[in-house]
């Protein structure tokens, strides 16, 4: 299965007189980790909302693979393979961890009416489903592809122990992990992570960066927005640095780290007037 590239082309978002995102281009290829850094108010979060579909751009478009997804709602984007996590972990607190993951795994289709009539929980038609039901009652049900994904993810993230815990009772670190797991269960091409390290201690952060590397190695593209510049630089393949709504530097971490504008912003040595002088997207 080939995975799709996420592209932002000339995105603009204005709030009244303020241009929060100003002609931003961005390419997030599968299998790579793309970081998005910038000081407060640089437009990172707005750009993130434009990518996830929570907000609509005033100009420009968002493209996933070869499809223009600019006008699509977040849930449709998600079904197409663009899955996000939130700054504040957004689990379903009354469901168990396993059920949280199942929701992630099983919503690439949307035929809910069948469920209403008690049909086709796995989309395999009425008869096979009834048979499955009987088997399930007898405790002999074969694992469907959906449950299989959930079990695999639970296993690989070491969450098997909490699979039947009600999600609302978990501590923050675990919540982040479960949210990440839920996103993985949705089989994303591109994962958008909004400050995944906030609220984690250093040990948990280290684990997170390992996990990100592993996920990217499996071919998933990751876009990560975080204040933790150390985390971002330690884990990403490419970085976009934003200041004042524009991308002021992009490229591999080393290049961006040594970029004079980025240095001036982060080390506060020079005014921000230089913003935008260096190359935008490649």
């Amino acid at each position: 299965m080939s995975r799709h590239v996420l592209q932002a082309v000339g995105l603009v978002r204005r709030y009244g007189g303020l241009t929060a995102v100003d002609h931003v281009d961005l390419v997030a290829p599968p299998g790579m980790i793309t970081g998005l850094i910038g000081p407060n108010g640089a437009g990172k979060s707005t750009l993130f909302s434009l990518l996830t579909g929570v907000e609509q751009p005033d100009e420009g478009k968002v493209v996933l693979g070869s499809t223009d997804i600019t006008k699509m709602r977040p849930d449709i984007r998600s079904r197409r393979g663009l899955v996000q996590t939130f700054q504040v972990p957004s689990l379903f607190p009354t469901l168990t961890v396993a059920d949280n993951l199942l929701v992630g795994a099983e919503n690439r289709r949307r035929d809910y009416a069948g469920g209403l009539l008690g049909l086709s929980a796995q989309g395999r038609g009425r008869i096979s489903h009834s048979a499955e039901r009987v088997l399930e009652r007898l405790g002999l049900a074969p694992k469907g592809p959906v449950t299989q994904i959930v079990e695999e993810v639970l296993d690989s993230l070491g969450l098997s122990d909490v699979r039947d815990t009600i999600a609302g009772t978990l501590p923050t670190g675990a919540l982040r992990l479960v949210e990440f797991a839920r996103a993985l269960c949705a089989r994303p091409d591109i994962l958008l992570l909004d400050e995944p390290a906030s609220g984690l201690d250093s040990e948990e952060t280290a684990k997170l960066s390992q996990l990100l590397r592993r996920t990217a190695a499996d071919g998933v593209g990751i876009v990560i927005v975080d204040h933790d510049v150390d985390l971002v630089f330690s884990v990403v393949d490419q970085v976009y640095a934003m200041v004042g709504g524009r991308v002021v530097a992009s490229g591999d971490p080393e290049t961006v780290r040594n970029d004079p504008t980025v240095r001036s912003v982060y080390l506060a040595q020079a005014p921000l007037a230089a913003a935008g002088h260096s190359g935008e997207a490649r």
Binding site: F92, V103, G168
Partner: protein, 762 residues
């Protein structure tokens, strides 16, 4: 009458609506609670006032002073102290406050109806003399209108000044922004909140006293009139007082102006309805036009997770014991529902209402309990189902041929689906308070424009139901009702299971999170509303057949509020709770005077502050506690196996239900106060001894548990041995108790009772 005369005639009503709006805004801006009980309080005060003047023969001024300076603010202070302060203290969600104010509404209605009955009274006294003042030429304005106008200006001005110019106004804003923070900064938050409540209820009382002489005084009628003035605060987007006042005057004058037109035919009929119902139409139109009110706080996401008494049923394999318990519960419930079949005919007829009402309640479980949308329009759907099925049976709808009664019920219910779908659309973008008001307005408009219209709701006749030419007896009808209820339960069950069930719960718990992983939020909401409307429609159709007549009162908008409160009280996400709620209300109404069920529901609703998941959750929690207690007395907490998972149970007694939504801690919990918090703990220590996780070996039992187990073993061994012996020798041995009881506190038992496992749980 000229336009100017009509306008002046409208001023009085407008001014009263403005006063009501000011009261609502004051309460909202000081407490963050949109006081749905405003109408109920207004009615109660109006009745008190009338009682003092008409029955006790007090002078009007004295009665007015007593009602407005003592009774009304007293009600406000009591409400603040007993109901809303505890909610604010535990940072209850807006949805919970909404339900609490619904509870107050239902309670005040119950009190009014309980004391003065449901009948109408036309002798409500007026504060102002029935005279008028000449303005210019022949144009005169009533003294009452003038006085009311002056009151509006004075109150709005004074409150505006207080809010903008004084330190007290700043304190109010601080308290509303963040009550705890304000208290930490030395603001007397409780006093501010109490002042807001007292002012709000005083305005409510004033509204009631002024409105009563203009209309017939009935508990439901006057309450609804006041509720209609919510249009005013919606126009003000819950914040601007001048906008509220101007809107009130504008709508009232426009409504009055409409009286100079007459049209014929259907348009004329609509106009006639508009002439007295412009406020409710304005409410709906404004709600549809204003997508988002300026709700205080986070305007939390429907936040009905707080109504849920539990999460999804476990998707893993359910243990045999649990399954057997489930089946036992279902059998018991079924037997109770079948019991009326053995009743005398008159009692059986009373029981007809139960399955019908239960279906309507189930429809609310679907929308509110499972998908987390506040819907206050159930009566509208139920009434439409009833009306459409009757019309179909009479062959009076869209030229369709007359259908057999039973078929017409199902078809009629299905015809409600499009209306449910349309109502669902506003729910896509609206949440919380706005959605609640929108659905209420839909129900009210349907009631006024359809149920109360002679064209639609007269000339209907109810044929006895028949199936294949065989006329249904009363018993057969009841069985048919149960079958319908069974269908409803099946739908509910399917909505709560598998992928669909999980998706709905995900939507309820965190709609953005659900969208983020591909749950089709929009269509799921529409599906929930549509299915719910059909179920309610079927319930309504049955309700009509069980009461033998169609009456607009049965499906009045206030019924929706009462029913909604009942459903929440009995556990909004519990199908069994819905059935119990229906049985409860019908039983009380049969046994006690009319209005008693309203009173009972009101009292229970106020108790929700202490049991957030409703009665269903409290019962579940109680059972869990009992099981927990038993488990604790058997298992020594200090010798338990180490926990396999590094998970801590929240110590505050609630699960942090909205952890993901606002990131605050200590937010009102899902689930019962006691039971759910221990659920995770209990889950690891199941009662059935054979499962892994429970240390069945002797050293891990408490001394008390060990001695008890030993006693049981000894006893059963003795029993079986004894039985064998008796079988052999003495066939008529006396029966013995089968449950072993420890006769007295054994030395070890007393010790075990003293440390009931608290230490191991912290």
């Amino acid at each position: 009458m000229t336009s100017i005369d009509l306008a002046l005639a409208g001023v009085s009503l407008g001014a009263i609506a403005a006063l009501s709006g000011i009261g609502l805004l004051v309460t909202y801006r000081t407490n963050g609670v949109l006081n749905l009980a405003q109408g109920g309080i207004a009615t109660l005060v109006a009745y008190v006032f009338r009682e003092m003047v008409v029955e006790w023969n007090l002078p009007i001024w004295l009665a007015a002073v007593f009602s407005l300076a003592v009774v009304s603010p007293g009600i406000g202070l009591l409400l603040e102290r007993l109901v809303f302060r505890p909610l604010a203290r535990r940072r209850a969600s807006a949805a919970e406050s909404l339900v609490a104010s619904l509870g107050v509404l239902v309670l005040s209605l119950g009190i009014t109806a309980g004391i003065w009955g449901l009948g109408s009274r036309s002798d409500a006294p007026s504060i102002f003399p029935n005279s008028s003042v000449r303005l210019f030429g022949d144009t005169r304005i009533g003294v009452d209108a003038l006085a009311e106008l002056v009151m509006v200006i004075v109150f709005a001005g004074v409150i505006g000044l207080i809010a903008a110019r004084t330190a007290f106004g700043r304190q109010i804003r601080a308290v509303v922004d963040d009550r705890q923070l304000a208290e930490l900064s030395g603001v007397p938050a409780d006093k501010v909140a109490a002042a807001g409540w007292a002012a709000g209820t005083t305005m409510a009382g004033l509204t009631g006293i002024l409105l009563a002489p203009r209309f017939q005084l009935t508990p439901y009628g006057l309450t609804l009139l006041v509720l209609e003035t919510f249009a005013v605060v919606v126009a003000a987007r819950l914040s601007s007082m001048p906008v509220a006042v101007l809107t009130a005057l504008g709508i009232a004058i426009l409504q009055s102006e409409l009286k100079q037109f007459t049209l014929h035919g259907d348009a004329g009929q609509i106009l006639t309805v508009l002439q007295s119902n412009l406020f409710i139409v304005a409410l709906l139109v404004l709600l549809l036009a204003v997508p988002k009110l300026r709700e205080l706080g986070s305007g939390d996401s429907g936040a009905t997770a707080s109504f849920s008494s539990r999460g999804a049923p476990p998707s893993g394999r359910v243990s045999g014991v649990r399954l057997r318990q489930d089946y036992l519960g279902k059998l018991g419930g079924g037997a109770l529902l079948l019991a009326p079949l053995t009743f005398a005919p008159s009692d059986l007829r009373s029981a007809f209402m139960v399955p019908a009402l239960a279906l309507i309640f189930l429809s609310m479980v679907i929308v509110t309990g499972y998908s987390g949308q506040l819907s206050l329009g159930a009566a509208g759907f139920a009434g439409l189902g009833a009306l459409l099925s009757l019309k179909l049976a009479n062959g009076d709808l869209f030229g369709l041929p007359a259908m057999p009664g039973i078929v017409s019920m199902f078809v009629g219910a299905l015809f409600v689906a499009p209306i449910g779908l349309i109502t669902g659309y506003p729910a896509i973008r609206r949440r919380g308070l706005t959605l609640a008001l929108t659905t209420f307005a839909v129900g009210a408009v349907v009631s006024r424009f359809v149920f109360e219209q002679p064209t639609f709701a007269t000339g209907l006749y109810l044929d006895p139901l028949s199936l294949f030419g065989w006329e249904l007896s009363e018993k057969a009808f009841y069985v048919f009702e149960l079958i319908c209820l069974g269908i409803g339960l099946l739908v509910v069950r399917n909505l709560h299971h598998g992928r669909l069930g999980r998706a709905l719960l995900a939507l309820r718990d965190h709609s953005e999170g659900a969208a983020a992983v591909g749950v089709d939020v929009r269509n799921l909401k529409l599906l929930a509303f549509t299915v719910s409307s059909v179920v309610a429609g079927l319930g309504g159709a049955l309700l009509v057949h069980s009461s033998y007549s169609f009456s607009a009162d049965d499906f009045a908008p206030l019924q929706s509020l009462l029913w909604f409160t009942a459903v929440v009280v009995f556990g909004a996400d519990s199908a069994a709770g819905a059935i119990v709620a229906a049985a409860f209300m019908v039983t009380i109404d049969v046994l006690a005077p009319a209005g008693s069920s309203t009173l009972a529901i009101g009292i229970l609703a106020l108790a929700l502050g202490w049991m957030p998941g409703g009665l269903a959750s409290a019962v579940r929690g109680g059972l869990r506690l009992l099981a927990q207690y038993l488990a604790d007395s058997f298992v020594d907490p200090n010798q338990r196996a180490p926990r396999p998972v590094p998970v801590r149970i929240s110590a505050v007694g609630h699960l942090p239900a909205t952890t993901g939504i606002t990131g605050l801690t200590g937010i009102p919990g899902i689930g019962s106060t006691l039971g759910a918090a221990r659920a995770g703990h209990y889950a690891r220590w199941p009662l059935s001894g054979s499962q892994d996780g429970l240390p069945a070996d002797a050293p891990r039992l408490t001394p008390f548990g060990a001695s008890l187990v030993a006693m049981v073993q000894q006893y059963t061994a003795a029993q079986t041995a004894g039985a064998r012996r008796r079988q052999a020798t003495d066939p008529d041995g006396a029966p013995r108790p089968t449950v072993p009881r420890p006769a007295g506190p054994t030395p070890t038992g007393a010790g075990a009772g003293a440390h009931p496992a608290e230490g191991g749980r912290a």
